[in-house]
Symmetry: C4
Subunit: 288 residues, 4 copies
Amino acid sequence: MSEPFRPAAEGVRTRLFQIIFESDTPLGKGFDIALIVMILASVLVVMLDSVERFGAVYGGLFYWLEWGFTLIFTIELLVRIYILDKPLRYLRSFYGIIDVVAILPTWLMLLIPGTQTLVIVRLLRVLRIFRVLRLMQFVGEGRLLVEALKNSVHQIFLFLFTVFLLVTLFAALVYMIEPDEAGFTSIPMSIYWAIVTLTTVGYGDIVPVTPLGQAISTLVMLIGYSIIAVPTGVFSAEVIRSIRADRYSDQACPGCGHDRHEKRARYCLKCGTWLDEETADPNRASEK
Amino acid sequence: MSEPFRPAAEGVRTRLFQIIFESDTPLGKGFDIALIVMILASVLVVMLDSVERFGAVYGGLFYWLEWGFTLIFTIELLVRIYILDKPLRYLRSFYGIIDVVAILPTWLMLLIPGTQTLVIVRLLRVLRIFRVLRLMQFVGEGRLLVEALKNSVHQIFLFLFTVFLLVTLFAALVYMIEPDEAGFTSIPMSIYWAIVTLTTVGYGDIVPVTPLGQAISTLVMLIGYSIIAVPTGVFSAEVIRSIRADRYSDQACPGCGHDRHEKRARYCLKCGTWLDEETADPNRASEK
Amino acid sequence: MSEPFRPAAEGVRTRLFQIIFESDTPLGKGFDIALIVMILASVLVVMLDSVERFGAVYGGLFYWLEWGFTLIFTIELLVRIYILDKPLRYLRSFYGIIDVVAILPTWLMLLIPGTQTLVIVRLLRVLRIFRVLRLMQFVGEGRLLVEALKNSVHQIFLFLFTVFLLVTLFAALVYMIEPDEAGFTSIPMSIYWAIVTLTTVGYGDIVPVTPLGQAISTLVMLIGYSIIAVPTGVFSAEVIRSIRADRYSDQACPGCGHDRHEKRARYCLKCGTWLDEETADPNRASEK
Amino acid sequence: MSEPFRPAAEGVRTRLFQIIFESDTPLGKGFDIALIVMILASVLVVMLDSVERFGAVYGGLFYWLEWGFTLIFTIELLVRIYILDKPLRYLRSFYGIIDVVAILPTWLMLLIPGTQTLVIVRLLRVLRIFRVLRLMQFVGEGRLLVEALKNSVHQIFLFLFTVFLLVTLFAALVYMIEPDEAGFTSIPMSIYWAIVTLTTVGYGDIVPVTPLGQAISTLVMLIGYSIIAVPTGVFSAEVIRSIRADRYSDQACPGCGHDRHEKRARYCLKCGTWLDEETADPNRASEK
């Protein structure tokens, strides 16, 4: 998320860099907020355009608004490329790819009609909001969350893998039992039904009609209802672990080098050395 | 929730203040309970009135009951204003606003017919129940809960923000794939479907009918099923943290002023001073 | 669950008491298991009788089986009353009430036809299974669970109270917005819809059809999806607290009386006294 | 999961054993991956064959592919049996049974037509993936998960038992209230409805239509919504306990044999002996 693309040390480019890429000046922050507002407005236009009632009446307006936003975002991207010394590295970065993808659908519309709805990916640009939030010291707490997610991703993957295995076996079983008329026309369709059931969504578009099929369905439901405990348990444990780990400072003891002290500790728990090197040890002082 | 609106030191007003604003006298508690019963009765009348079977028969009775409750609540509000020295501050407080809002719909009915159902906001007045519960030492445990909620609100906001981003992107994708006949008539409609699916509600009023749409739907379901772990994990961790924090007394060390000791601690963990000032330090005593 | 109803010290009654009320003899355990099997069989008969396909064919058989079970259970109850010194206290106890209620519907059937289905309450008698399980040291772990449930019941009650408040307010709001044709015919009906939605059940029998109603619905869904974290968090924290509390023995220090030591502790953490009074302190021994 | 079936010490069999049963050589790992790919391909064929669109066109191809996979898996099984000294023990092991079951349906098809779909159980063979994952040090974290599951299985069984009791009682109650036309045609059908409701799946195929039935339904929903907290809480607590237990080393104290020290501990917490036998005790050293 950090953007280490230093501009050449010229006046205008440096100034633009501060405004566009940084958020710690009033102008930079203002630019970020204006950008986010414009992204949201642009997404709103696409959404309203899709509603027939609005699309029929304001279709023309939406069309020109859409082009207006696209032009502004295109100019913005060109300025970003201009002020960077290594523009290609930016274009291959996370935010760079999103910037390109966000304007592509409208330009493509000139060649291939109907790609307009893809403009919605522009929404991903809203992720820039995290930069503004970071300055507002809002995201700080989110760090623990992301760390906990990273630590539990392997286990949750294993969990989903097991879920998928179960789902497929049950789906095949119910496919054999239930008649086609109930909607179980193929195994993939039956898997769709099994996921709808196991995740407790329960649309009701495909529903078992035979007593045996219904009995197996209740089994799938009870499994789905119970095993939600697994990702929740794993993630809860990870958040708690993260919070606890956060209680420890990363300061090493100047005496023995031990580096896992609670942030509130003043003496090393291994060798008793005074930890706060900047002030004198009160115990030592009083010993004199 | 505290109400620091001191009445003038006159007999009647002081007495009324104790009854209406305080709950620690038998009369005050009785007043609160009578009030809650009346609020619930008034809400019940609105509810029953909306049921055609009852509304058709007892419509007239309900009408006069409604006016009766409104008059009582209006008089109560006037008394509250009368006995307070700074009534305007009360009217701008949380409970004051609710008190006004609770009687407004009936009075407005005289001007604009059909606003009667709004009377249901009167239900918010039931929140006064917390005052009675507090006296019954019922809410004490709720304090930890509220604290945990406050601590996790930022993270849960970030979570919902991410959920909404995901939902919009998936909604736009499925909107492009699914035909209008399946109910995906616009992007906002598709967002409605995506939230119904992700939260595992699954009405089944709008349902994907194409294989690709169904495949993407199962993805939305699995995401919804898994990420419920996030708010649950965060909140669990916060409750555990609150409980643990509760283990510490708020007693400061008389020696060094350190104020985070376990309730069971007898010596300061920072400077070793005896914490319980009311009794002698057994170690010191034995040293003599 | 303990049954302190001592029988008179006569041979037959004492023997019957051991068989019927206790489970630690082979015969007593056998009686309990036979009883549970019979209860389940009796419940199964009621269930199958309700299925038209079976009821039409085996209706007569089921009728006599039903009377057979009822006679056996009635005799069992009479024996229980006979062998107890204070039968009335048993009849007012939890299991006593269930025993009476379990045979009542069949006898009532003689007077009032159609009460037969109530026989299903007989299922509550299966709770006796806990006595057998206890002997198999199966329930031991359940104790922590029950304790955690008891500790969190107040908070979960407050939670459900808040949920119900929210549900009613949203229900009234959507009732005003949605037309009757969509199923929102009264406020109670709307409350039914709001609970179906908030608990993420989502039958789809009543569904919002106006854009505004759908927007508010998504709010209800997101609230329902998020606040499930509250009871889960509270209960998780309580289970963890119970497990942790279980780590401590209830043994008090013979030196200073401090009574919160880990089960693995051998010396008092407050005054250093040797905790295991039955054996000698190895440190003291070696000091000699 | 370990397979202690030593082959006779002949060249070819030893070599085949390393390839087929072990995964720590490049060839062995390659064999496992090829096997998993083939299993997945074989399952995919069964799935696609069930889709009418594909089955009608490629039915013949799928038929021969199916037989191809079955022949390969049969040969593989025969080789496994050949290279093991105690093939019967393998055939009775978990993986052995799955291997037989995976090829049986196709061979049975020669005798009984229509058993083909059972081939899907072949999916269970994918469980072999855990062996490859183990080598990639992927499953290590899963160990904690499995341990936590084992510890909570008793409590979750008790929970499901209680749930089933509740479900049956509510089902019988609603069966008596609701008319047959609403779908509540028998108690088992009503139990199906109650599980659909309690697990918050909510298909909507059977739905209460009377006010009383709807009121009881909301109770079932609120119970289902709240008690999900129980398995989640239990499992969360177990995961946390597992993680914490993992913090302790299995190193025993050389002095007193105590074997539950934190991995970071350097001195025995029971007798104060220096734990790290490979280096000298710094305290002892400085005592000289």
